[in-house]
Amino acid sequence: MPRKIFERLLPRKKSKHNHTIPKALDVVKKQLEERFKDSDDIAIHEFSLPLKLDLDTQAVLVYIKGMVNQDAVFEQVLRNLVLGLRQISHLEKLPQESIKMIKDIITVAEVSEKSSWDDVILDLVSGSALVFIDGQKFALSINVAQGERRGVEQPVTEAVIRGPRDSFSETLTINISLVRRRLKDPRLKVKKYVIGERSRTETALLYIEDIIDSGVLEEIKKRLETIRIDSLTDSGYLEQLITDTWWSLFNTTQESERPDEVVGGLLEGRFAILVDNTPFAILAPTTINTLMHSPEDYYLSWIGSSLVRFVRFIGSFIAFILPGLYIALVTYHPEMIPTQLALSISATRTGIPFPVVVEAFIMELAFELLREAGIRLPGPIGQTIGIVGGIIIGEAAVGAGIVSPIMVIIVATTAIASFLIPTYSLTVTLRTLRFFVMILSALLGLFGLVLGVLIIGGHLCILKSFGVSMLSPWTPLRISDFQDSLIKLPLIATKNRPVFGRPQDRRRLVDKRPNDLKRGRTE
């Protein structure tokens, strides 16, 4: 029932739009003007083609200003058509040959004949120039698309110290090329979909044919094909439409703006989706484990990155448990805190007018305010927010006796811990869950805290991302995937791909090094 309503809201494909292009140029012009009435950014040039010695044929060039490369339109299309044709047109030509000659004389790579209005219009709004010729039942669509585009810049949300510094930008072709450049393998497939009835957004599904599991591939194709939406503004829209569980706080897909991370994902038998106008790719199937990986882990020595992984996992735990734990211990079970610590906590809390719960909520809220303000404000001012918030407000609040210093420590630790997680969406999730755990702890103490963690754990047990358990490799237990989870084994010990994505081709590395290198001892 809801689907029916939804479909009714969307514009139907109207049958009158699907007719073919009429022969008479006057009719074409009339229809164009009717269609693009009140669209002042459309340019319609009339000119005459010297197809025959004595008689010029009327033609029309149509394009949208700003979507095309104006130079190319004039130099390579219009100039050639008018002047170049005139130089060679002293010969009498058959109509068929003259069309081929016209195509030859345009020095742009992509020229095609289109005979249905729908195709032609789609090309036009995507940035092609159209040439209609009097007496022909088709239009020449010349791809001279060029819009304003941002170049490849450094990643903003997933910065690394060691590793490539390029990130996706808003142009789909550039983004695809960033991936292709890293995987020069014909088995890397790029399948394009046009999603959005109005926005007509190009979307590319990337996968490596002989690694990805066929079931996953079929499933994602099915999900992409059933999307009916008016506009796909960002990959975030798509993410919500293809996710397994829309009601969950956890994303069952992963977003990334780093081409190297996408390539790593493709090599693990996952698929990536790139959406035009979005600098974030979607990767799936996803597990909590993969959300905790940063590409840098693979570039550094394995001991170092194992330690970092470990810290990250602990950090993610702290990020949603610590305030709740503090509330539970101080409010319900002060006897659990070692005596000395309990004494110093109670000493700092003397004179604080609020119970711990209220204090914790005030401070967590204050932190959320600061964080949001820091993001919204422009760069230079954003930094001052940190100073104002962190130093002045924090210091002043403690000085005024509204919050205890230990509460500030707790909130600050939580905040720092939550920024350890490499994936932004998971950070948001854990921040939200922190309040959930805080409320439960405030109501039921330690029991509430454990219950909260169990609910989250149970929820994750229920979640699946394209048939893969979100908690893989811990459950279902896959010992072989431990190579790349809490710890990161050395590269030469991870000869096979992880199995969570059910890759067809498991082998990743064949150790052909000389024996002394294998042993790790060279003279």
């Binding site: 079931g215 996953v216 499933e219 319900y332 079970h333 006897e335 659990m336 805190i337 070692p338 005596t339 000395q340 039921l444 103490g445 330690l446 029991f447 509430g448 805290l449 454990v450 219950l451 169990l454 609910i455 754990g457 149970g458 929820h459 047990c461 229920i462 699946k464 394209f466 048939g467 358990s469 908690l471 811990w474 459950t475 279902p476 237990l477």
Partner: protein, 368 residues
Amino acid sequence: MLTNNDRITSWQMVLVFIMGINATGILTMPRVFYASTGPDGWVALIIQHVALFIGMAITIILGRRFPDQTFVEYNQQIVGKLLGTIITITAGVFWVLISARIVRVFADIIKVFILVETPVEVMILSMLLVSVYITRHGLEPIARMAELLFPLMVIAILLVTFFALWNIDKLNLLPIFGAGVWPSIVAGLKASFFDLQMKVSFLLLLPFLLKPRNALKISALALSIDLAFRVTIFLVTVGVFGGYVLDFFWPVAMLAKFVEIPGEVFARLEMIFLGFWIGVTLSSLLIHMYLASLSFARLFKLRESSMLTLPLLPIIFIISLIPPNVMDVEILDTIEGVLGGILFWIVPTILLVIAWIRKIDQRVGAND
């Protein structure tokens, strides 16, 4: 392939068994066994587990005759519709009783050790709500939950037993066979009939295995791990407390209270132990609630058991509140023991004998 197909791996099944039979019973186990056999309780434990293995073997042999069927379906084929329905309903009631008992006893423990002033109703209701949420999604999340919480249980047991090792008095565990061999054997057999009795039964769970031929190995592994846990806990608890074990209602929780971890990081270890044990208990509750809903769902020929989990909640809630105090919960325990003994020892044996005599066998090629 991408839908919830509700088949679980052999290792998951092992953990479903271990987590299923370990809820609150293990916390009183040293007292119960010391009362009947003195320091020889570990012998009784071994005998109990050996007997349990035989019992499980019976259910597996029976179940193998009916691949892809649970005993809800096949007991009607063996003993007729009426008797079969009665058996199924009794089993369903049994699992409802167990769920009620687990959640009630545990709420009482929490009340004694962690939340002194909170009413037990709150604890019971919150545990039940969480388990309904997870149970609704079928066996797969439950098995995953068991897998996730098993390390927690191991850590909890190790934490308590390891730091108590230095307080063990050898004399508390001697003499071996001071009262002769027979009391231990009798106690063990009795315990295998009235306690544990394969509550988490292959009668229902066999068709959910990815590789059903592993069922015997699974039971053996599950029982040996469980035996190792129980013997360790029994030896350490009795070794530390000796005859005083009888004075404590929950000797294992008292042991956790007694133990101190060096380094002054954690005061009150029993809180941490019980905190971990909330997870263990929840896991057990999940499994029993699932078994209850599954047996009723199969009886009413519903495709999914999830429809029945929510209606079970108020029933379990009310039953768990019937006993006015901890001592009276023991009555629930006794009823449960007798019912369980009949259901999981006598009924499968009789079913197997009848099936064997009447040559009822659904295996492909069995009747050629």
